[in-house]
Symmetry: C2
Subunit: 356 residues, 2 copies
Amino acid sequence: MNDRLLRALAREPTDRTPVWLMRQAGRYLPEYRATRERAGSFLALARSPALATEVTLQPLERFPLDAAILFSDILTVPDAMGLGLYFADGEGPRFERPLRDEAAIRALSAPDPADRLGYVIDAVREVRKALAGRVPLIGFAGSPFTLACYMVEGGGSDDWRALKTLLYARPELLHRILDVNARAVTDYLNAQIEAGAQAVMLFDTWGGQLSHANYEEYSLAYARRVLAGLTKSREGRRVPSILFTKGGGAWLEAMAASGCDAVGLDWTVDPADARARIGSRVALQGNLDPAALFAPPERVRAEVRRVLDAFGPAPGHVFNLGHGISQHASIDSVAALVDEVRAYSPKMRGSAQKIA
Amino acid sequence: MNDRLLRALAREPTDRTPVWLMRQAGRYLPEYRATRERAGSFLALARSPALATEVTLQPLERFPLDAAILFSDILTVPDAMGLGLYFADGEGPRFERPLRDEAAIRALSAPDPADRLGYVIDAVREVRKALAGRVPLIGFAGSPFTLACYMVEGGGSDDWRALKTLLYARPELLHRILDVNARAVTDYLNAQIEAGAQAVMLFDTWGGQLSHANYEEYSLAYARRVLAGLTKSREGRRVPSILFTKGGGAWLEAMAASGCDAVGLDWTVDPADARARIGSRVALQGNLDPAALFAPPERVRAEVRRVLDAFGPAPGHVFNLGHGISQHASIDSVAALVDEVRAYSPKMRGSAQKIA
């Protein structure tokens, strides 16, 4: 197996820097759009293990990536709690029954993944089988805090007013939600690990909206609890974890001490500064500006080299974007990105390039 | 005159921490909504020196604030360049003629503020007169980069795709826009100073969307140019300046070395960490989470004390929110905020409280 990702997450030397892209199975690919069309809707696609497997593998057919990431959505977990996930046309995810009163919050409980999220676990199994050892499979979940944002707000938001009102006016109720979410996410990731996920990633998309004083209490404390509860794989191997907080640049030291194996960096963070602050305690993942993929291939290559240089030649870097790939990214530019990581990173190491 | 703001910006001791709120003349006030109703539209309000003066003074009638900030909009400057500012219902600001091709960018020039922005300059004069020395008047402008975001995109955006495409694909054209903007903003702020503004603030609302490598080149370099071009007041006094980049926590040292007198901190930044990094080179402004104003007054008071404690008793702190006040903020909570700063900050200093 191509084990570059797992080696980099363990901060072991690799012949070149492994590369994958957040949301790599997605709308920028015409073959993804075709499968989604066939499925009828995003949710139908996510709920079909066969179709989820198909789209998970699509980017690997096009680009020589070093990892697959399960095609799914972070909001499957609150959906399994009974909140009723749906997608309004052009409006992003919404919940039919957001947590709008104390009774709803008190009634919340962590779902049994085998029962309510079996379609995701089945997809993990199918993808693992279909990959046949080509590259490792990454499982994932939303962080307890990020899930709570959507669960309280009922959908995305510019100011997260309902969530923040709860946080400042009734913090004990938000802690109750986060406690349930931490258990739900731990169980969910462990079910993915049991089904074959070889690494897991926790997406804390909205933790960066919190004040400095609140990030530790409402986001990181619960991410830490999830990370501490992760089990080993069926083969008895420790499964490495990646923690990503968008806008989390101020808290890298704390994130690195959370129990994760790697910290994901968004594009606003200076990789050299991150490395200086974190040292070699954990690996780093990131952090090309996703908007660089709107530029022509030659510009993308220059940006890729700049990012690789900023991370430097030390082991423990997984190349990625600083956030999910845009549906408007140019495929030629994505190809240039992957190719440039493969071409340039071995030279940085001063070691001979091996082809996987 | 109540000179607490000017003293704090000069890092001189004050009896208590001065306080004002970004967007303090705004929609959360019923009297503002009434004046706007009377004006017919936001733009009619902003373009009438008499009405702009009226709303600028409204928050001072309600709360014992230590500064007034001119009621206006950062997009008056690109509007004066001929881009055609308008407000679509419930959609925020838009431009009729965004910069969509090279010819439009090459044709751009800095407007003469006396000619095209006379209504703002008149408002500054009227407000200064109406204030009659009660508190200092803060003038302001958008940063060259933040203005460019709207000018290229044509309005607000989640991903600033048009702007970022220009940045990565045709950086020389973005530099051309930024160069014009820097001259326009310098002239505009100097006209405000000439008309009586006693401090100025540069709002870099979108600089935090840039990658680490790009922030210096596309945002800070041009803010620095503006700051270097500011003139003295008619009385020959140096007019202090505040530089605020939302999401700029990674770049505080560079911002502090930009030539500004104070750095504005958003709510994600730890004030104690900011002080440790910046030292006493400049004053600091901020940084209560604006969402704290959704909570009841007693919770707000506790959050205010937490922020004051984090900044500590050293001179050089201007209390503010970490971003503009929300239209949904509770007026009782705003009153509690201002009152708590007045009540608690003198105790921190261990000095007797003087009433202005």
